[in-house]
């Protein structure tokens, strides 16, 4: 089984409740460490403009490029559900390895705090909740129900298999576990 996300871009108002709920659940201080981000895209000229938002958690790729680049093997992919996890105790910190995982990831999922030698942490699909049979907190915090999560196969059956959307390119190299309902221009 491989878990993944569904994102309905037509419903996202960019409120960032998902990002705040994530920080609260995982107790992450304000600052650059963001396991969930809401990205902004604006195109066109007044009054003919196009605006879209896009979530950016870790997409728990089928072929996570962060794993082979880690010099100490701190990152792993769980066999039973495909969640990509990091053992922060093993991680030697962003100074010493020069943030190789972050540089390799096409989606900037690996995150670091502000302290010197910060250890990598990132979205773990709310593993604690997942093990209790609950959805990640970002999903349940979305006021417009723009988010869903679960088995990627089931998500594809439910929502279709569209792999790209505005401001998101599917990486054939890493194969992110996400499907979209894109916002039409």
């Amino acid at each position: 089984m491989q878990v993944g996300f569904y994102f309905d871009q037509t419903r996202c108002i960019g409120c960032s409740a998902c990002a705040v709920a994530c920080k609260d659940w995982h107790d992450i201080p304000a600052g650059p460490e963001k396991w969930m981000k809401v990205l902004y895209n604006e195109e066109g000229k007044f009054p003919h403009i196009f605006v879209s938002y896009r979530i950016n958690p870790c997409f728990h790729c089928i072929d996570p490029v962060c794993i082979p680049v880690c010099p100490v093997g701190a990152i792993a992919k769980r066999e039973e559900d495909g969640i990509v996890t990091v053992d922060s105790n093993k991680c030697i910190g962003n100074e010493e390895c020069d943030s190789k995982c972050l540089k390799a990831c096409p989606y900037d999922a690996p995150q670091f705090g502000t302290e010197i030698g910060a250890k990598m942490r990132k979205c773990n699909y709310c593993l604690d909740r997942h093990l209790e049979g609950k959805l990640p907190t970002c999903i349940e915090s979305c006021r417009t129900r723009a988010l869903d999560a679960g088995s990627i196969e089931e998500l594809k059956q439910k929502y279709g298999s569209i792999k790209e959307t505005n401001n998101f390119i599917y990486s054939e190299r890493t194969k992110p576990s996400v499907v979209f309902k894109p916002k039409e221009k």
Binding site: T10, R11, C12, I13, G14, C15, S16, A17, A19, V20, A21, K23, D24, W25, D27, P29, A30, G31, V38, E42, G44, K45, F46, P47, I49, V51, S52, Y53, T137, E140, S141, C142, R143, T144, R145
Partner: protein
């Protein structure tokens, strides 16, 4: 500690069901995880049908940082430096309340009760511990007090709905939106401003059902991003010109519902005279409106035709554009269009009026412990009942947006009192009313001021004594949402009070002792008090049958058989159930207003040019119109210091590149925004989402003047005016400014 424990997870981790009482329309159910007496996490509603959950927004998702913020006040403070300096020393409750009581007695004896001023706002809206109600009761029993009139948010809409319907319940259940065939959102951004937890989601569902949505707004709002099939940008303050021109098209092409107008309204013929130019020689054609609004005539004509011929259609005005010098005329024009199209009282239609309220669990029925008698300072005045004469409101009060002018000038300035003592509770008015620099000047000159607060806000910094207040998580109470609901939410105490914080009710009770007010009734047992309050009001008494169950579930959802529709009763049976207006009909023409003989307050809705709009001669000096919409990451100025919220939406000014480039301003530059009232600095955000000629700064950032008087905090009211419309709307959105690139040290 009395708590309602709903669930125990493990290791003593408990989930407490509660909500918050910010000045927000949500009151969403929260599940607060508590371990070892500390909040460790927050979750939202867990109603079984996920689609029906009332999901909290980012603000309450960040509540933990709010509760435990290091800057929360924990002890009573006494001023220990110049007013505004923020220098304070810790004192005991006994010392603080003794000093306040002595001061109150002194002022009462020397100057009389009218010199005691109570400034109250919407900062805590729950039944039992609301400081506004506690202080009204206390000061009434102390012999009376002066206060202010006028709701900062919605007074324009209130005046307009009183004029034409004489009822504030002009809304439909949000689920009724799906019964529309066309939704027109005029100046309304429910993605950011929470008027009903699920309003934005209901709109999304309506859109996905195939209902066309048109957004008219100077900004391409986040609501427009997900909802708008068409965005019509309009010059701020000119909405009424476009609405009047839509009426012109309908009349000219005979698209209006004459039968409806004949049966349910009065005065339409006078409106026709104005619209067609009989009254003033100016036909209000789409071409006329294009010159004023910048909206192409063809777009106006097409919208008029589409709205008049697509039925039912929901015309959703709101309160924002009425927070201007145009004020109530915006809502009156909107309401007139809903009558012309026969959309009032119909499923899927709308009566407009901006207030959007339904009469179930509405904030206007607020549960509270009533004072035993009227405020003695306000007895013997002429009755305001049924009158639209705003001046009657000022027999003993000042307008809310004139509060600081009144404190500054007193009777010499024509106000009914000289303030010698002021109590500020549930508000940050220095920051949130017009003309913050003037407010600071007034508070510097004020003899004595007490502020009950959770934070050392820009307002609190001028107080002689600051009293620390508990947050919602630290008390038992219950709430109702603003206007929509329909539900009540319970607040169960999650944690012990932080530091020495007390609720406003407890502060009033202890101060009553110091004042020797033996007859002041106390409510030491919260559970008993909540039972008393629930039984006191008919709507809670009838709906909440089992109080324990209500508190355990944290919410009581009111079941109504079909979506509520404003004025359906009247439209279905006008003979037996007339409107509450003097004529019993919708008053497009108001004799009550005509009798006032105020040329600025016309008896029929009109487009009128007002001060500090696009066409004010002042625009030569200050050519940009300043908008100050609701922020998404705080409730007005509440939650301002919460870092989780600050980082998701940094404080910036929206500027169209056309306006920026002509001034040499690039994206991210620090700019100076200024007019004759003040100066502030803020980062420029260049975006095509705002009409050229206007800039937008979200309200609520905290005023932080430097040694040169430049507000470094970017508080938008440093620039706005302390004025109101003829109907009493706080005119914060009629504001002209200029901007330039700011060079530090230059």
């Amino acid at each position: 500690m009395e708590t309602q424990e709903n669930d125990t997870i493990d290791d003593g981790e408990k989930i407490i069901r509660t909500t918050t009482a910010f000045d927000c329309g949500g009151r969403c159910p929260l599940r607060v995880h508590v371990k070892d007496g500390k909040v460790i996490r927050i979750e939202g509603d867990d109603f079984e049908d996920k689609d029906e959950q009332l999901r909290a927004c980012l603000r309450c998702r960040a509540l933990r940082q709010y509760i435990y913020h290091p800057d929360r006040l924990k002890f009573p403070l006494k001023r220990d430096g110049p007013k505004g300096s923020g220098k304070y020393k810790r004192i005991s409750w006994d010392e603080a309340l003794s000093e306040i009581a002595a001061k109150l007695k002194e002022v009462k004896e020397k100057y009389g009760n009218s010199s005691i001023f109570l400034a109250t706002g919407g900062g805590y809206q729950a039944a039992l511990h609301d400081g506004m109600f506690a202080m009204i009761r206390l000061l009434t029993q102390f012999g009376g007090f002066s206060t202010h009139f006028g709701n900062i948010s919605s007074e324009g809409a209130v005046y307009a709905t009183q004029t034409q319907y004489t009822s504030p319940f002009v809304g439909h259940s949000r689920t009724d939106l799906k019964n529309s065939k066309l939704i027109i959102m005029w100046g309304w951004d429910p993605a950011r401003m929470i008027s009903g937890s699920d309003t934005i989601y209901n709109l999304i569902k309506a859109k996905e059902k195939g209902i066309k949505i048109i957004c008219i707004d100077p900004r391409y709002t986040d609501s427009a991003v997900v909802l708008a099939d068409q965005w019509i940008p309009i010059i701020p303050g000119t909405d009424t010109a476009m609405m009047v021109a839509m009426a012109y098209v309908m009349i000219k092409e005979n698209l209006h519902d004459q039968e409806f107008l004949d049966k349910y309204t009065i005065g339409f013929e006078k409106f026709v005279d104005y619209v067609m130019g009989e009254e003033d020689g100016i036909p209000k054609t789409p071409e006329w409106a294009e010159q004023i609004t910048s909206v192409p005539a063809e777009i106006i004509s097409n919208l008029a035709r589409e709205y008049a011929t697509t039925k039912p259609a929901a015309f959703m005005d709101c309160q924002g554009p009425a927070r201007s010098a145009v004020g109530e005329l915006y809502n009156r024009c909107a309401m007139t269009l809903t009558a012309m199209t026969g959309n009032v009282g119909k499923h899927g239609g709308s009566a407009a009026g901006g207030l959007m309220g339904i009469p179930y669990g509405h904030m206007f029925f607020a549960s509270r412990i009533p004072p035993p008698y009227r405020n003695p300072v306000e007895t013997g005045l002429k009755s305001v009942r049924g009158s639209l004469d705003l001046q009657l409101r000022f027999q003993a009060r000042c307008h809310t947006n004139k509060m600081f002018d009144a404190i500054l000038k007193g009777k010499g300035g024509g106000y009914p009192f000289d303030v010698k003592f002021a109590w500020f509770v549930n508000n940050n008015f220095l920051n949130q009313l017009g003309n913050t620099n003037k407010a600071a000047e007034a508070l510097k000159k004020l003899d004595y001021m007490v502020c009950a607060e959770l934070w050392l806000t820009p307002t609190a910094r001028y107080a002689d004594i600051v009293l620390p207040v508990t947050s919602a998580a630290e008390k038992n109470d219950f709430t109702r949402p603003w206007p929509s609901g329909p539900y009540f939410t319970a607040m169960n105490q999650a944690i012990e009070p932080i530091g020495e914080c007390k609720s406003d009710l407890r502060i009033a009770e202890e101060l009553a002792d110091k004042l020797g007010l033996e007859e002041f009734v106390k409510y030491p047992d919260e559970k008993k008090a909540l039972r008393f309050l629930i039984k006191l009001r008919e709507d809670t008494r009838k709906n909440i049958r089992n109080i324990n169950e209500f508190r355990e579930k944290g919410i009581h959802r009111i079941e109504i058989e079909e979506p509520y529709v404003a004025f359906k009763e009247q439209i279905d049976d006008i003979e037996n159930k007339p409107f509450k207006t003097p004529s019993g009909k919708i008053e497009i023409f108001s004799q009550r207003i005509a009798d006032l003989n105020d040329p600025e307050n016309p008896p029929i809705p009109k487009y009128m040019e007002r001060w500090e709009g696009r066409y004010d001669p002042l625009s030569e000096k200050y050519p940009l119109q300043l908008l100050s919409p609701h922020p998404k990451n705080r409730v007005h100025s509440e939650l301002y210091l919460v870092e989780w919220l600050r980082e998701v939406d940094p404080h910036v000014a929206w500027i169209n590149p056309v306006d920026a480039e002509s001034r040499g301003i690039r994206d991210g530059d620090e700019i100076l925004v200024y007019n004759d009232r003040g100066k502030l600095t803020i980062k420029a955000w260049l975006t095509e989402r705002i009409i050229p000629g206007a800039i937008s700064i979200f309200e609520g950032a905290w005023y932080d003047p430097d040694e040169n008087g430049i507000d470094r905090g970017g508080c938008v009211n440093t620039l706005t005016k302390d004025a109101y419309s003829p109907g009493g709307a706080s005119a914060l959105k009629s504001c002209l400014v200029e901007i330039k690139k700011y060079n530090r040290g230059a």
